[in-house]
């Protein structure tokens, strides 16, 4: 008896099923890159955890205060709600695609890429918090999802990664231009998946060496990144809101919140590292001086960040070639693939790759980055044979230096190897966190499961450890 018709359907929003699946995939990819790249104190403070950067005036985050801005909450929200949810919906829509119009191989390629990026996202979640919702996640019918064991999640996503690679048909298209990382090139995605697999293998080497060895061997056999051209790189644009998120915080904000930390500057100064010219600004006369990590450090008194961090179009990176070479060096030392004898070559490749990646040549003498890198490698403090007493320290320090713009991996490098040595911030006196605490609202929206997970983690504290983080 009513004449309401469809007036209760929002005329300004696309109905479910009416948006093309690649639009959701593309949106989720950008969210993932944004979240990993950002340096907002509300979203991503891993550059601070890694002590690459420090804060000038407001030092809450460098003192590991996770309450004031609830970064764990935002990180979690972004990854579940804005990344995984859209990947999942994209997959649902792809599964409804008419196979008369789209060949099954293309559909499988699309599904495989989604799966690979989901694996990436879940490993970030596990590495951030430990136990997280996985088997019951992304299901609105269950608003109280249980948290799965972190190691179990790893095992599951490693299988997912293998399955995804097996679905790919090289030579067939996938997402085309909506693939904002590789432009739809599925062979590049296979390399990405293998590189990710290698990363995961090295992560679990201490707790499951045999599995790690198998994975690393398979990954190398399947083909990992072999040059910086393979990098998983998200190219940002020049205008808001599509710029590199770092530009928003460093340039657009007009603020002076971040400077290189003394932890980083002191190490690079000691090595007279040529990459300093890229990482830092020469705003001070004389030497580079890093802000005192965790203490109030007036911006004017310390070295500033280099110009590459002030460009809106600087790409965001998920995995790059130098990291892969470092991983291969680690895998060699760990006897996962190859032997310790192979480590040095990978280490050298990694550092050369890093100089190329950072474009750390000398423009005045027109010396290319690779030549500068070779010179650098000849220093006793850098050369693999003499750099430090343990391989862990040699690799960790250099890997950490390379990862200057990727706080999450740099922090994880420290968690894995305990190097380089970190400073203790003055105000809190706390050591580097081993994990993020859970989001502030989880106790109120998912209380029982939160409590169970906290207990399983040994308490919802920054000192609790992810399963692969063993002493």
């Amino acid at each position: 008896c009513s004449d309401f018709g469809d007036m209760n359907i929002d005329p300004k929003e696309a109905k479910i099923g009416e948006a093309p699946p690649e639009t959701l995939f593309a949106a989720a990819t950008k969210q993932l890159s944004d979240q990993m790249t950002s340096t907002s104190v509300n979203r991503n403070i891993f550059r601070l955890f890694a002590q690459h950067w420090t804060e000038t005036t407001y030092t809450d985050e460098t003192n590991y205060n996770l309450i004031t801005h609830d970064q764990p909450g935002t990180h979690w929200n972004e990854l579940y709600r804005d990344v995984l949810r859209d990947f999942d919906e994209s997959r649902r829509l792809i599964n409804l695609t008419d196979t008369q119009l789209t060949p099954p191989a293309v559909i499988d390629n699309q599904l495989a890429i989604i799966s690979i990026l989901e694996v990436f996202t879940y490993h970030v979640l596990v590495d951030s918090y430990g136990n997280v919702p996985f088997s019951e996640a992304i299901d609105i019918n269950n608003v109280l999802p249980k948290y799965d064991d972190d190691e179990d999640i790893y095992m599951a996503i490693i299988d997912d990664l293998d399955n995804a690679m097996s679905m790919i048909t090289v030579g067939e298209p996938s997402f085309g231009s909506s693939d904002l990382i590789y432009g739809g090139d599925v062979s590049a995605w296979i390399k990405f998946a293998n590189s990710l697999k290698l990363r995961l293998a090295v992560r679990i080497a201490k707790v499951n060496p045999s599995k790690a060895a198998t994975m690393a061997t398979e990954a190398v056999a399947g083909g990992v990144f072999t040059s910086n051209a393979d990098n998983a790189s998200f190219q940002y644009l020049s205008a808001d809101p599509n710029t590199n998120p770092v530009w928003v915080d460093l340039v657009q904000s007009g603020r002076q919140d971040f400077i290189p930390a003394n932890t980083n500057v002191d190490i690079m100064n000691a090595l007279e590292d040529p990459r300093r010219r890229i990482y830092y600004d020469q705003n001070l006369e004389g030497d580079y001086v890093g802000g005192i990590y965790g203490s109030n450090s007036p911006y004017r008194d310390y070295t500033h960040l280099g110009s590459i961090f002030h460009q809106p179009e600087t790409p965001g990176i998920l995995i790059d070639y130098p990291e892969v070479e470092f991983l291969l060096a680690e895998a060699a030392e760990l006897n996962l693939v190859g032997t310790p004898a192979d480590a040095e070559a990978h280490y050298n490749n990694a550092i050369i790759g890093s100089f190329v990646f950072w474009d750390a040549g000398d423009p005045e003498t027109e010396t290319p980055p690779s030549a500068i890198a070779l010179d650098y490698l000849s220093k006793p403090e850098v050369a693999y044979a003499t750099a430090a007493t343990t391989w862990q320290e040699k690799i960790a320090v250099q890997k950490w230096i390379h990862l200057f713009n990727r706080g999450f991996e740099a922090w994880t490098t420290y968690r894995l190897y305990g190097f380089p040595e970190m400073n203790v911030p003055e105000i809190s006196g706390e050591p580097v966190p081993r994990r993020y605490t859970y989001p502030l609202d989880e106790p109120s929206v998912n209380g029982a499961n939160y409590s169970a997970a906290s207990e399983a983690m040994g308490g919802d504290t920054k000192a609790s450890r992810i399963f692969w983080d063993v002493e």
């Binding site: 007036m7 093309p20 579940y80 109280l144 911006y299 609202d441």
Partner: protein, 1063 residues
């Protein structure tokens, strides 16, 4: 034979509309405009004359065919006719529910820009929280919050036209609770729409409190109804003019402003260079030696102790126009603190109205101009309203009425709110240097027109280095980055009344409420934030079509039946569009979208539509002025519900028993008991049934994303059930009396989005369950201790206590598990406002102290509180009770009254002290400790403070803790949130009025009918409060997110003078 005659009132003026019935028959008539009547009756029969507000008169018919009659007012019944649902006038004694009537003079003598504020303390059960911003909204809650996340504000009805009172926050959709502004993330409080009602036009206000009272209005009245009757012309000959002129001055209340410490200047601690590490060093005068400069970057006052003998280059040494250019000045507290910024606000209120009446019609036309400048520079509000109210008889049976109000409101420089650079209170309450002289800041802006801030990040000797870093010059903010807004609104109705039979009147009414508004935001070039121009256009239209059949019968001599049957149809449409420049403004001061540096991002569009139909009826039985029974019901069909469940019915029954009519005692003037049971169904906002995708700004390819809210295709209407009992009495010829009410409501099946674990992939899920119970007691009483012919002292008091409890929320669809907490807002500082099962609605969660045996635990090594970081309930937004007492002294034509308004309990979290105690701006962060030593001295030298509490082993704390820098025990770095939760109790002298009406004999010599004048004061004195530095009433906006202050504005003392002429 035919009896004729004239009925007049006490003054001899003809009385139209008097009912005349031949006793014991249904034969009746009414007097015409001139008070004349004619009726056929036989000798020996009697005529009964009745008229509302007058004593019934009976006259036996004798030989004469003429009966003239002068009726006298019934003092007892005079003020007891009230307007109830759908505009039906009822005798108050017949009502089985609580209503409170407020005369128009209560809101148009001590005028508030938002008339609703004038009701505070005058209506038991009405909780009004006034915003302290210019033209800001008022939160209005009747008998507690009932809807978990939906609208809890009452419905406003003006002369039969429902008028929207949604918040004007720049929220695109129906769902105003999600607006950034209401959650403290910056913006402006544009007020709520009821403030478009001009107090000057109000004749009377009736507040319908319970579901039984509002049942006929349907679901929109679930939170009660405020019925406003506006002034109209009287059906008597001649023209009448009223001219009213008023001026109100307002000053900020020092008790609601920070008390700054004046011992230490800029800095966060000893982190820099110079003496003690409190300054920057730079060679300013070029002598090759470093000089001291202020730590310009630091927006805190944990720096060097003031020492006038120390010369420092301060911010005003660097802009070339400065009198102190390149001069070091003594290190001393700012000569003028931030309060220098306040002006005296001036409100001019001028109105003129004309009314006229004839035999067959009458009208009133009024025009009012309100012109207000606020206490902040460059803030102003003007409102022009034209109000027309008229009726005309087309024939003896048909009357047409028109009511129309046009209002144009223009705001400019409204006060920013929340944690945002456009709210200068963010600086003066949270981030500030006490060495800054605000008069010098003012001069710097006036002399240069630039954003010369005290807070910049670069080399002070370069223009670029003096670009503000965190905080702007506040004058630059107020004069350059101002908002402006305009709203044009028309509301009113056209109605036709047809007297079909003696017992049946048919009314048709079409009501319209429509407005269009434009809100423009600016961030000027040179500001801390990226320059910006934003515009938000919104149009709102609501149409209501009502058809009412009013009937009344005398079933027997003693039994009457009257009531209404009718239907209503409503259409509402909200359309909005918001566009913002991107990347800055190419040309400074050009505020146009085309001036965007980057390509514009797509504007945000919203189009919301809803429609519903209602069918209703009621029957009121009256027995011998003694016992009344009212039964009503309504059936609604709403477009926002799922199609298969979109209709719902709800009944109400109420009764009134006037037992004083059984007791014939002089001391008892009036007494009745009343009781009712009622249900009110409720619908929901549009677009909660079907899912859709959000449309983020495109990249190189289009983007879509799953909406953050999961819809629900399977829900039914909300339902509130309530019962109420009451007792109403007056004694000793109405010298004193009281009214008591007890009520209990259960609001069930609520339709609302709940925050869920984001691991579900969603932010919120629309559910259809949950229950909130409210119960409460309301009391009002009056007494006239002295009443003589010339003098009266009358006291009116109100008191109300409401207790709410969240009974249930929802169950997890997958497991059937109960969800016990719902986060309604997550706010800066780590605070959230929640609906928690077993707690009152609106519990404040955050980190807490750790307690042993009720004592706060102190860490014996640091002397600081041991913080329990797990979020938990630490406060409750609801007051324990509210009350008000009005004293009115009247001597002849002179009247003096004052109102004391009281709130007990309720909690507020202050983000202002949360940050401000860490930045060292408040007096509490300096001075001396219990040893008489400066608190800020190192603990090792006898400084620091000793917190009250115990060590973990239960022994009293003896460890003093440092107050030397921002990481002290009281500020946000170390303190639990609970330290910054304050008791919101207050006792306020809300209103003082002195009115004088010129004696008639004096006026008679003048060309006026009457002249009155009044002097009024509002919010003159906060007699008592527990919240430091602030008004506990101050909040962000109206809505469900209360109990939180961020960048709160001070309250204002208002002094007004008003003059009124009638001729």
């Amino acid at each position: 034979k035919t009896i004729t005659g004239t009925v007049s009132d006490q003054d001899g003026l003809p009385l139209p509309g008097v009912n005349i019935v031949v006793q014991g028959t249904t034969n009746g008539t009414q007097t015409d405009f001139d008070g004349n009547y004619a009726i056929s009756a036989s000798e020996g029969q009697s005529l009964v004359f009745s008229y509302i507000g007058y004593k019934n008169e009976t006259r036996a018919i004798g030989a004469s065919t003429t009966i003239n009659l002068q009726m006298s007012e019934d003092a007892q019944a005079l003020d007891e006719v009230v307007v109830t649902a759908l505009g039906i006038k009822r005798e108050k004694k017949a009502l089985g529910y609580a209503t409170t009537n407020v005369g128009g003079d209560e809101v148009n003598t001590a005028k508030e820009t938002n008339f609703v504020n004038s009701l505070s303390g005058k209506v038991a059960g009405l909780d009004i929280k006034k915003s302290n911003t210019l033209g800001g909204s008022s939160n209005i809650i009747l008998r507690g919050y009932t809807s978990i996340t939906g609208n809890n504000q009452p419905l406003f009805v003006i002369d039969g036209t429902p008028v929207s009172n949604i918040s004007n926050a720049s929220s695109a959709s129906f769902d105003t609770t999600t607006s950034d502004q209401t959650q403290g993330r910056g913006g402006y409080d544009f007020g709520n729409a009821a403030m478009d009602i001009n107090p000057e036009d109000i004749e009377s206000i009736n507040v319908l409190k319970g579901a039984a009272a509002s049942n006929l209005y349907g679901y929109r009245a679930a939170n009660g109804v405020i019925i406003i009757t506006t002034k109209t012309g009287k059906r008597k000959k001649g023209l009448g003019f009223t001219v009213n002129s008023g001026v109100t001055l307002s000053n900020y209340d020092k008790d609601t402003f920070p008390k700054y410490q004046t011992e230490y200047g800029a800095g966060y601690g000893a982190y820099y260079s110079g003496p003690g590490g409190y300054f920057f060093e730079q060679d300013i005068d070029g002598d090759g030696l470093d000089d001291l400069t202020t730590v310009f970057t630091e927006d805190a006052s944990f720096g060097a102790a003031f020492d006038p003998s120390l010369l420092v280059y301060q911010w005003d040494a660097f802009y070339p126009e400065s009198p102190n250019y390149l001069q070091a000045t003594p290190w001393a507290p700012g000569k003028n603190d931030f309060s220098h910024i306040f002006n005296t606000g001036v409100t001019l209120n001028n109105s003129i109205s004309v009314s006229a009446g004839s035999d067959t019609g009458s009208f009133r036309l009024g025009y009012t101009n309100l012109d207000q400048t606020g206490i902040y520079p460059n803030s102003k509000l003007t409102r022009n309203s034209v109000d027309f109210n008229g009726s005309q008889d087309i024939s003896e049976k048909l009357t047409v009425g028109v009511k129309a109000t046009f209002t144009k409101t223009d705001g400019s420089g409204r006060n920013g709110t929340g944690y945002d650079g456009r709210n200068v209170a963010q600086s003066y309450r949270q981030w500030y240097q006490t060495n800054v002289d605000m008069a010098a800041q003012e001069k710097a802006y006036y002399d240069t027109g630039r954003n010369v801030s005290w807070n910049f990040g670069g080399d002070p000797l370069t223009q670029d280095g003096r670009k503000p870093i965190f905080l702007n010059n506040p004058y630059f903010v107020l004069f350059e980055s101002y908002e402006s807004d305009t709203r044009n609104r028309i509301f009113g109705n056209v109605n036709l009344t047809y007297k079909a039979k003696d017992w049946l009147t048919i009314t048709g009414r079409t009501s319209l409420d429509t407005y269009s508004e434009l809100q423009e935001g600016r961030i000027a070039t040179g500001s801390v934030d990226v320059p910006e121009y934003s515009r938000f256009n919104r149009t709102f239209t609501e149409l209501n079509y009502d058809l009412l059949f009013n009937y009344n019968f005398d079933l027997s001599e003693k039994l009457t039946l009257d009531g209404v049957v009718g239907s209503t149809a409503r259409q509402q449409r909200i359309e909005s569009i918001r566009a913002v420049t991107s990347g800055g403004l190419a040309v400074p001061k050009l505020y146009a979208l085309g001036n965007s540096v980057n390509l514009l991002n797509p504007p945000t569009e919203y189009l919301g539509k809803l429609k519903d139909y209602g069918f209703f009826g009621n029957a009121s039985f009256g027995y011998n002025n003694l016992l009344y029974l009212d039964i009503s019901g309504r059936y609604d069909i709403s477009s926002t519900l799922p199609e298969e469940n979109n209709g719902f019915f709800y009944p109400a029954v109420s009764t009134s028993f006037v037992f004083s009519n059984l007791i014939n005692a002089d001391w008892l003037s009036f007494a009745k008991v009343r009781a009712n049971y009622a249900e009110v169904g409720n619908s929901t906002n549009p677009y909660r049934v079907y899912d859709s995708y959000a449309n983020p700004t495109n990249f190189t390819v289009p983007f879509f994303s799953v909406s953050n809210q999961k819809s629900n295709a399977d829900f039914v209407n909300e339902l509130t059930k309530s019962y109420e009992v009451g007792l109403e009495t007056s004694f000793a010829n109405k010298r004193f009396g009281f009214d008591l009410a007890y009520y209990s409501t259960q609001s069930t099946n609520q339709i609302y989005p709940v925050a869920v674990s984001r691991a579900t992939g969603y932010h919120t899920l629309v559910v259809n369950s949950g229950q909130v119970d409210n119960k409460g007691i309301e009391a009002s009483a009056f007494v006239s201790p002295i009443r003589t012919e010339d003098f009266e002292w009358a006291i009116n008091g109100t008191w109300a206590k409401n207790e709410s409890e969240v009974i249930s929320l929802f169950t997890n669809p997958a497991t059937g598990e109960e969800v016990t907490n719902l986060q309604m807002a997550s706010l800066q500082g780590g605070i959230s406002i929640n609906a928690t099962v077993g707690q009152p609605y609106g519990s404040i969660w955050g980190s807490n102290f750790t307690y042993i045996d009720g004592k706060k635990v102190i860490d014996p090594t640091t002397g600081r509180y041991v913080v329990d970081g797990t979020p938990q309930p630490i406060g409750d937004i609801n007051p324990d009770w509210k009350g008000g007492i009005t004293n009115r002294l009247t001597y002849k034509d002179l009247s003096f009254s004052f109102l004391i308004d009281v709130q007990k309990g309720g909690d507020v979290f202050s983000l202002d002290t949360w940050y401000g105690y860490a930045t060292g701006i408040y007096d509490i962060t300096a001075g001396t400790n219990e040893l008489g030593n400066p608190k800020r001295d190192p603990v090792s030298e006898g400084g620091g403070i000793l917190l009250e509490g115990v060590n973990p082993d239960g022994t009293p704390n003896t460890t003093r803790t440092s107050m030397g820098n921002y990481a002290n025990a009281l500020g946000y770095v170390r303190a639990p949130n609970a330290l910054h939760v304050y008791d919101a109790s207050y006792v306020k002298l809300r209103e003082v009025t002195l009115s004088y009406q010129l004696p008639k004999k004096l006026v008679d010599n003048l060309p006026f009918n009457s002249i009155s004048m009044s002097v009024v004061g509002r919010n003159l004195w906060i007699i008592d409060k527990n919240m430091p530095y602030s008004d506990p009433e101050a909040g962000l906006s109206s809505g469900n997110i209360q109990g939180y202050q961020s960048g709160a504005h001070p309250s204002q003392k208002e002094y007004g003078f008003n003059l009124k002429f009638q001729f």
